[in-house]
């Protein structure tokens, strides 16, 4: 995990430098009659971040930090599999929202998670994955008046029908 810590911290250091550079798009010094410029706050904070990454790398090299003393890798086989199945599942969920609406994506994700990952029964998996989007629909669209993404146009007739129930 020590190598992972050093590599991640280097990435964070580069990110800090990027933020410092990005902050210079605005004035980073003191503007008379206006106070510190708009870029000063993020610029100096990113500079502190960069200094911190230096200390973090130093602690990692001298094996003073907790991760640098651990011998196991950042992601073992279980971690990799988990990231792929669970993390990938959430990624798929979010990617589906624009296509089959928030509610459709919610159904697919819940069914995938409960039936395939959780290995629950068909009855339980289907009940939860069908009831949850319906409850969310009425809570958000009817009660809270917040419209969640409705997906691509082919779903319009369905939502038009559901809207007639609410209004």
């Amino acid at each position: 995990m020590r190598l992972a810590e050093i590599i991640t911290t280097c990435v964070l250091a580069l990110f800090s430098i990027y933020l410092m550079w990005k902050s210079t798009e605005l004035e980073i010094g003191y503007v008379s009659d206006e106070g510190p410029g708009g870029g000063a706050w993020p610029f100096w904070l990113s500079a502190i971040m960069l200094i911190c990454t230096g200390f973090i790398i130093k602690n990692s090299i001298t094996r003073k930090s907790v991760p640098s003393q651990a011998s196991e890798p950042l992601l073992d086989s279980y971690g990799k599999k988990m990231l792929l199945t669970v993390g990938g599942g959430i990624l798929g969920f979010v990617a589906l929202i624009d296509i089959i609406s928030m509610y459709g994506a919610m159904f697919v994700f819940l069914f995938y998670y409960l039936k395939i990952l959780g290995q629950h029964t068909w009855k339980l998996s289907l009940t939860i994955s069908i009831v949850t989007p319906i409850v969310f629909f009425f809570f958000f669209e009817a009660l809270m008046r917040i419209t969640l993404p409705k997906g691509m146009p082919f779903l319009e007739p369905l939502f038009n029908f559901l809207n007639t129930i609410i209004y």
Partner: protein, 506 residues
């Protein structure tokens, strides 16, 4: 004083009229669920239900809205504790210790402690409000930018000085939170700032909920599944009346100090214009940790860490009503909406309100007392339901948390860009969590950033760039000094141990 008590009694009777009492119970229950839903807070509840209140007299209307406000303050703690996702910004600090308690099978203790602390916080605030409203409003107005910035500095300092975590990683975490809070438009010059890759989604800034839900809803969940190998067995005890009373006793015994700090500090931070319940609860957490005999227990499931922010957010929500009523200045987004409502009802907030509309003002304050009591009753009666949720198989609970996170991330700003951003934060948080980076400071920083930066810049403008302004003012000075000592504390400790180590060897 007798006159005030008389008016207050009239106010409480007004709130206890059947129609008002019914509005209070409906409002509190609605507020509880709105508050518990990640992405929705009291602001949403009050904003959405405001139009409905035009159907009833102004006094009943504001009683209803105050009940929603109270309910939401109690509700935020529920998802923070049971799911580990802050239900509302005001409950961010509650996750720090509430979630560990729930993971140890002590969710009931955490929920009961939160409810009781909220009740005490609300009650203390109501008493302070009744007794000192006009006086406190004037003190709070003497807080200028340097004083508020000093308070922010103190909040960050408590994390550095007493974190017990890796210091460079903690400071890094605070700074990145503050930088993320700076994305969007520069408030003073009006120029776009840190718009990464010219993506328009960054124009409206990064909502703190996007980071908070990403960190707690996605990152923390992935980490939990990974570190427990997916085999979480909930040891949650059954819900019994006897057990609840025992928890209530234990919770109060171990958290009276945090509750007291939260109640008073929260009220005062709530009064400050532009502060409100969120910074109030975060600072109460910090100060409770600072004054505790066992600061190392914080963050690992200490009832005090639940009690302090919960007492503070209730106390602050009452406090933030104070400048609204007495001066017409809202102390939080929710009170800003209430203020708008009052104007529509034909009431003019300001010093004359207490004289011209005593029935309305004391009716409102009376309803605070009554709402607070009913919020406690409603909340306690729902605890068994929330505990039952925790006994569900973990795969069901986890999938629900992910769904709530995605919906919550969207509902906060209604922009798909933020859902993707939240997902990114979630994966990054998972890796950083594994590498022992503390992430709570980043969440704290993104919440306080929009207050800290403008106050710093205004202060430096006042002093023409001289940082001495933070030291030579009577209120700001001592706060700044304490904050700096706290930041340097780890350094002192380091040299102290080195010195002692050398002596022992010699």
């Amino acid at each position: 004083m007798m006159e005030i008590l008389g008016q207050l009694t009239d106010g409480i009777w007004l709130a206890l009229l059947p129609v008002n009492l019914m509005l209070i119970i409906i409002g509190v229950t609605l507020g509880l669920f709105i508050g518990a839903m990640p992405g929705l807070g009291s602001v949403n509840g009050v904003a959405i239900l405001l139009p409905i209140t035009f159907l009833v007299p102004p006094a009943s209307a504001i009683i209803f809205l105050a009940a929603i406000y109270y309910g939401a303050m109690y509700g935020g703690a529920i998802s923070s504790i049971t799911l580990g996702i802050p239900g509302a910004s005001t409950a961010v600090a509650t996750t720090f210790d509430g979630r560990p308690l729930a993971l140890q099978g002590k969710a009931r203790l955490a929920l009961v402690t939160a409810a009781l602390a909220s009740f005490i916080g609300g009650t203390v605030a109501n008493l302070l409000f009744t007794g000192f409203a006009p006086l406190l409003a004037s003190v709070a107005l003497s807080f200028g930018p340097p004083e508020i910035f000093a308070l922010m500095l103190l909040a960050f300092a408590t994390f550095v000085g007493l974190g017990g975590d890796d210091i460079p990683k903690t400071i890094f975490s605070i700074c990145i939170g503050l930088v993320l809070a700076a994305v969007g438009f520069d408030e003073i010059s009006g120029e776009p700032r840190l718009i990464f890759g010219d993506i328009s989604g960054f124009m409206h800034g990064i909502n703190f909920l996007v980071l908070a839900i990403g960190v707690y809803g996605i990152g923390e969940m992935l980490w939990t599944i990974d570190s427990t190998r997916g085999k979480i067995t909930s040891t949650e005890t059954k819900m019994t009346v006897k057990g609840t009373i025992e928890d209530a006793k234990y919770g109060m015994k171990h958290s009276w100090k945090g509750t007291t700090i939260g109640s008073f500090l929260g009220f005062f931070v709530g009064i400050l214009p532009a502060a409100g319940a969120t910074p109030g609860s975060l600072m109460a957490y910090g100060v409770a940790k600072l004054t505790s005999k066992n600061p190392e227990k914080f963050g690992k499931g200490h009832p005090e860490g639940v009690a302090a922010p919960e007492a503070a957010n209730n106390s602050a929500s009452t406090g933030s009503m104070l400048p609204m009523l007495t001066l017409g200045i809202p102390g939080s987004p929710t009170t800003a909406i209430l203020l708008g409502g009052m104007v529509i009802w034909g009431l003019t907030p300001g010093p004359r309100l207490f004289i011209d509309q005593p029935e309305f003002v004391w009716g409102l304050i009376g309803s605070f007392y009554v709402s607070n009591f009913f919020a406690l009753v409603v909340n306690l009666s729902f605890i068994p339901l929330f505990i039952a949720m925790l006994r569900m198989p973990f795969t069901i609970l986890a999938s629900m948390i992910f769904v709530l996170s995605v919906v919550g991330g969207y509902a906060a700003t209604r922009d798909m860009h933020d859902v993707w951003l939240m997902l990114g934060f979630g994966f990054a948080a998972y890796i950083l969590r594994k590498l022992d980076f503390p992430l709570a400071p980043a969440v704290l920083a993104i919440v306080l950033g929009p207050i800290a930066e403008p106050t710093l810049r205004q202060s430096l403008l006042l002093s023409s760039g001289d940082p001495a302004i933070f030291f030579n003012r009577p209120i700001a000075g001592p706060i700044t000094v304490v904050a700096i000592i706290l930041i340097l504390l780890p350094l002192f400790k380091f040299f102290w141990f080195k010195y002692r180590g050398v002596k022992e060897v010699a």
